[in-house]
Symmetry: C2
Subunit: 333 residues, 2 copies
């Protein structure tokens, strides 16, 4: 951790489509404040101003101000160029070629470093005692889309075009629904939040008296709630989703061979009800395959530890490491 | 490269199910001899003795003997523990829990280091000028099975259980043929050599007057030859195989995001006739998907450069690096 007596604080920000999470951490790695605010979605500039306001509010809660901040790290749900801080696309924030890094730095007067949110959550897991000694892990975010952040041999792996871990576009059923990417039957068309909600709406239309209720009000949460209350149609949807996510886990093992697959993201707020159908489908694989029994260990799948801010902690790591890199580059010059 | 005036040579061995390839390289990285011998398959011990004989013959061709050899590196088609040199399974060699490393070292009186052959071929590619500057590449072997060796961020990636890159067991069609792993429709049941030959036999039975000839004599090579001569059934088989291998390439990009996918192994001796159906299937994906156009660049797929001994060169690298590691460990003690 960078320690500068004049600027002893780091700020980690995780920007989502609905919430902005901010952590303020001091030079001893202690949390000084934690704030969660709704994401402002009144246009690209308003979104950025809202993020700046959330950071100021978190600093106020920490009894500090921007003059005490060494750097801000920020995770963004989209394609980010970590070198320039330009966000190429962040669909949920309606950002396109948005120079969010430099503009936030100008708003705050503090260096701001950006990266993809899923990658930062993977890095954030490395700071949690459960994962500090795990050299190979995949953090899998299941929300509006599906993507993985990868720690391989102890380090973040991003790929040649910053596209490693785009497992939402693994084609699991070439005759499946069309995907935004142009192909058909990609994992995220079959198992992400919108697919679960769409399945629920269809079931609600087919049986308007069922536990799913009115079709136009069905969400992912409704489907999990109806399944928990015993609705067979909702349970069938989640079994189906579980089979696809189990196939994704098998593919993750056959490609990356990690020690842990840690799930996070909006859909996983269902908790054990999210994991159970995946585990059941993996059990069926384990019964049939010795290779699956070897690689798909019982403790392979986990949820992000309850209450742990993986994303903001990863952003804190990004801020600290980026300062260090900048300092080293300055010395080498 | 280790340079010891007394023992100036390194030996690199690539053991296949039909051939043993041996390279003898001196301290300046110059090839002093290159020998290819048939694999002896009269039992586990005879296979090992045959490898030792091939090494002795290569040294003789180099005008040297074992007293000039600093170390032997060897690639084995199976699961190898690189620490102990024990080969857990190498189906084609009929080796099971075979301590091939220590036993070869005892036969030759020289340190012997073993690793999986596909991984060593990936490392071997790094020594070729075409790939020396490529930081992320997948070497994909298509033969009796299918597996990938991965160079990620410039280094070999093996995974938590030495199983990274086992893409032959990506499930591409859950209703497909049963696989030795216990699951169904794994990539290698659909697109490896035996699948191509089986398709050819079926087509030959259906049309005994076709170019494929007598069903009981059909091999993978027969299918490529018949397709080249215009046989529609053989062409259909290769289109089918090409579609599955294209899906595998798409999965490789969505997981690893590499700069090059380099194909080698028995089936790829068909050369451009092997690549063409894969490229055609990738072109169909590119037409439909902007993401595919971005990631599946036209020069993504390549064959191992003609005549290049990727496997033995990887084994040379293994031998040199293992000596270096051993020397460093000795100094630290």
């Amino acid at each position: 951790m960078i320690h500068d007596a004049g600027r002893p604080l780091l700020v980690g920000v995780d920007v989502g489509g609905t919430k902005v999470g901010v952590l303020v951490v001091d030079g001893w790695g202690q949390v000084r404040a934690r704030v969660i605010m709704p994401t402002v979605l009144d246009g690209p500039d308003a979104t950025l101003a809202g993020i700046a306001a959330a950071i100021r509010q978190a600093l106020q809660a920490a009894g500090a101000d921007l003059s005490a901040v060494a750097a801000v790290g920020m995770g963004v749900p989209g394609q980010v160029d970590p070198q320039t801080g330009v966000v190429r696309h962040a669909v949920n924030l309606r950002w396109q070629e948005m120079p969010a890094g430099p503009r936030l730095a100008a708003l705050l007067g503090v260096p701001c470093f950006l990266a993809n949110d899923v990658r930062l959550a993977a890095i954030g897991l490395q700071r949690h005692p459960n994962y500090a000694l795990i050299r190979n892990l995949a953090y899998v975010s299941v929300g509006t889309g599906i993507a993985a952040g990868l720690i391989l041999d102890g380090r973040l792996y991003s790929g040649a075009h910053n596209m490693a871990g785009e497992i939402g576009h693994l084609v699991l059923n070439p005759a499946g629904p069309p995907c935004v990417c142009g192909l058909r039957g990609c994992l995220e068309t079959l198992a992400a939040g919108p697919a679960i909600a769409a399945g629920g709406r269809q079931a609600a239309l087919a049986d308007p008296t069922g536990l799913l209720g009115a079709a136009d009000r069905v969400t992912t949460a409704t489907v999990y709630a109806a399944a928990a209350a015993g609705d067979p149609a909702a349970q069938a949807i989640l079994r189906h989703v579980g089979r696809y996510l189990a196939r994704a886990c098998q593919a993750i093992m056959m490609t990356y061979d990690v020690e842990r697959i840690v799930f996070g993201g909006g859909v996983t707020t269902a908790g054990e009800a999210f994991l159970r159908p995946i585990q059941q489908a993996l059990n069926a694989m384990r019964r049939r395959s010795a290779l699956a029994r070897t690689l798909l260990a019982p403790d392979l799948l986990q949820l992000v530890p309850a209450g742990y801010d993986a994303g903001p902690w990863g952003a804190i790591t990004l801020a600290g490491q980026s300062l260090l890199t900048a300092a080293q580059t300055a010395v080498e010059r």
